[in-house]
């Protein structure tokens, strides 16, 4: 379905170059829910921009169903972290969701159907005449998700969509994402820096190193499909997986050039510490 092959990205600056992504290869199958987790400053956003065709890689390629991505591909929707800036403030909620469908030249009736369905799926059936800035942050992000869902994408990319909302809203939105993924069976790639979130949401978690980025581990999440905030998060298996992701992220790099002094001490203490207290949420 989605093939990422040997992606490398180097930013050329005046007098200095920064290697943001070194070498990334992975695949995502049809209908899968994959979380990409990495420390702040790992090339998560860069990777996502390359997958969505917003940015050209320095080397490597991204394929969707065997077709190379050069420019934003059809059938891909992206939900950005900056919900306040990704919605068109001069359009109502409904117009925001409908805009990409108009661009797709869908007939009127079908557009209405999709807009209604997706807005009610995110629990915003009532708010469609409001403007985005009249809504709370969490609701704005719901609109962005509804817009993505209504687009009927083959692939749904989410770039730290809940990094800027409060904890309670965040939990609700996480469940919403699971729900939507079940309902629409859409291949979903979810980028986050939050380890708990990644484990809670994903069928698989791709653990990235800090920049220059490589894949540390491709971890299958063998939690039951039915998840809820209270039981899943307090299960021993959840804690184990979480600790494993944690230790991978904080493991010092093999090619010692990376200054992860703070991380290095945290690895042993952190990993074993979490292992010893599996009940902690």
């Amino acid at each position: 379905m989605l093939d990422v092959r040997g992606i490398k990205k180097v930013y050329e600056g005046k007098g200095r170059t920064v290697e943001a992504v070194r070498d990334l290869t992975f695949t995502v199958d049809q209908g899968e829910m994959v979380c990409i987790v990495g420390p702040s400053g790992s090339g998560k956003t860069t990777l996502l921009k390359i997958m969505s065709g917003l940015l050209d890689p320095t080397a490597g390629e991204v394929l969707i169903e065997g077709k190379k991505v050069d420019g934003p591909p059809p059938g891909m929707a992206v939900v950005f972290q900056e919900y306040g800036r990704s919605l068109f403030p001069w359009m109502t909620v409904r117009e925001n969701v409908e805009l990409p469908l108009k661009q797709k030249k869908l007939p009127n009736a079908r557009r209405k159907e999709l807009v209604d369905e997706s807005l009610s799926a995110v629990g915003l059936a009532e708010a469609h005449t409001a403007y985005p800035w009249q809504l709370s942050g969490g609701m704005q992000q719901r609109v962005a998700i509804a817009r993505a869902v209504a687009y009927e994408p083959q692939v749904l990319l989410m770039d730290e969509p809940f990094a800027a909302v409060d904890a309670q809203t965040r939990a609700d939105l996480e469940d919403l994402i699971r729900d939507i993924w079940h309902r629409f069976q859409v291949t979903t790639l979810f980028v986050t820096h939050d380890i708990d979130e990644a484990v809670y949401l994903g069928q698989r978690v791709l653990i990235l190193s800090s920049s220059p980025t490589v894949v540390r581990q491709d971890l299958a999440i063998d939690l039951p499909d039915e998840r809820d905030q209270l039981n899943t998060r307090s299960s021993p298996r959840f804690a184990e997986l979480r600790a494993q992701v944690y230790s991978q992220i904080h493991r010092p790099k093999a090619d010692a050039a990376e200054p992860v002094g703070a991380g290095a001490t945290a690895v042993d203490g952190g990993a074993s510490g979490y292992g010893a207290a599996p009940d902690l949420p």
Binding site: Y11, E12, K14, A20, G43, T46, E160, S211
Partner: protein, 284 residues
């Protein structure tokens, strides 16, 4: 007179959150300043060629070489420098009066909700009155004395300052206001330590806008009323058929305008960098 309402974060700003190191640098082959120079050079070449090949009437639109020559002659006359001095004098004096009046009245009016609301309709009515409407009255009252020029300059630039100051004064953090009251700061101390620092960046924006408007009105007054200055020099040159000189003076007024803009922008940037709060500029 550009403004940038801070509707959203700037396009080239860093992406919040997990931005990977530095954002992609602008890739450009030629530096921007060089492109700008090329643009100016192209303008000069265009003005040189178009009159010569007859696209523009040669008689009334001299090519840039002739304008340049006229300019070179012009800057050697004392009359020119006296005119520049007269224009700048009217500009500076008018701007100073307008600024002081605008700041003082702005702080007085903006200080209380009642005075703000009581004066709002009057300000809304007086502000859009075009300053050139005052020309006949200015001529009747003062003739070509400097007062008529000042009347126009002050009237036009006063509003620019006043409005910005009013915005600035309203921008005061209510918590800070309460804190100041709670610590028993008197009226004067509140103006000195709270109102003025908050309003300062707005004042600077107002000054920049006012400076541009003041220059326009100074030259306009000279041109129309006949006060001594660049505007009058231009009118004289035009009516005596010295067209190249006329264009040269236009160029000079443009350069003056650019210089005034640059200078006040620099001052404004300085006041902004000095000021802790970043804010969007309000354009009025």
């Amino acid at each position: 007179m550009t403004g940038s309402p801070a509707v959203m974060a700037p396009a080239d700003g860093p992406v919040a959150g997990a931005a990977p190191g530095p954002r992609p640098r602008r890739r450009r082959g030629v530096p921007q300043s060089l492109l700008g120079l090329a643009g100016l050079a192209a303008l000069v070449v265009l003005v040189e060629i178009l009159p010569r090949i007859g696209v523009l009437p040669r008689e009334y639109f001299p090519p840039s070489s002739e304008i340049g020559r006229a300019l070179a002659d012009l800057v050697q006359t004392s009359e020119f420098w006296t005119s520049v001095g007269d224009t700048l004098q009217g500009w500076a004096l008018g701007l100073a009066i307008a600024s002081v009046a605008g700041v003082v009245l702005g702080i007085l009016i903006g200080g209380s909700r009642f005075t703000r609301e009581f004066t709002a309709s009057t300000i809304e009515f007086l502000r859009p009155i075009p300053s050139v409407a005052l020309i006949p009255i200015a001529v009747l009252l003062f003739g070509t004395d400097i007062e008529s020029k000042l009347l126009l300059v002050v009237y036009a630039s006063f509003w620019q300052v006043l409005i910005q100051v009013l915005y600035g004064v309203q921008d005061i953090d209510p918590v800070a206001q309460d804190t100041a009251r709670a610590y028993g700061l008197g009226r004067w101390a509140r103006v000195r330590y709270l109102t003025w620092p908050t309003a300062l960046p707005y004042v600077m924006t107002g000054l920049r806008l006012a400076a541009a408007v003041a220059l326009i009105l100074a030259v306009t007054a000279e041109l129309v009323i006949g006060n001594p200055g660049l505007g009058k020099l231009l009118a004289t040159a035009q009516s005596s058929g010295a067209y190249a000189t006329t264009y040269a003076i236009v160029v000079v007024t443009g350069i003056l305008g650019v210089l005034v803009n640059l200078a006040f922008r620099a001052v404004e940037r300085w006041s902004l960098s000095w000021h802790p709060s970043q804010r969007g500029e309000l354009v009025v």
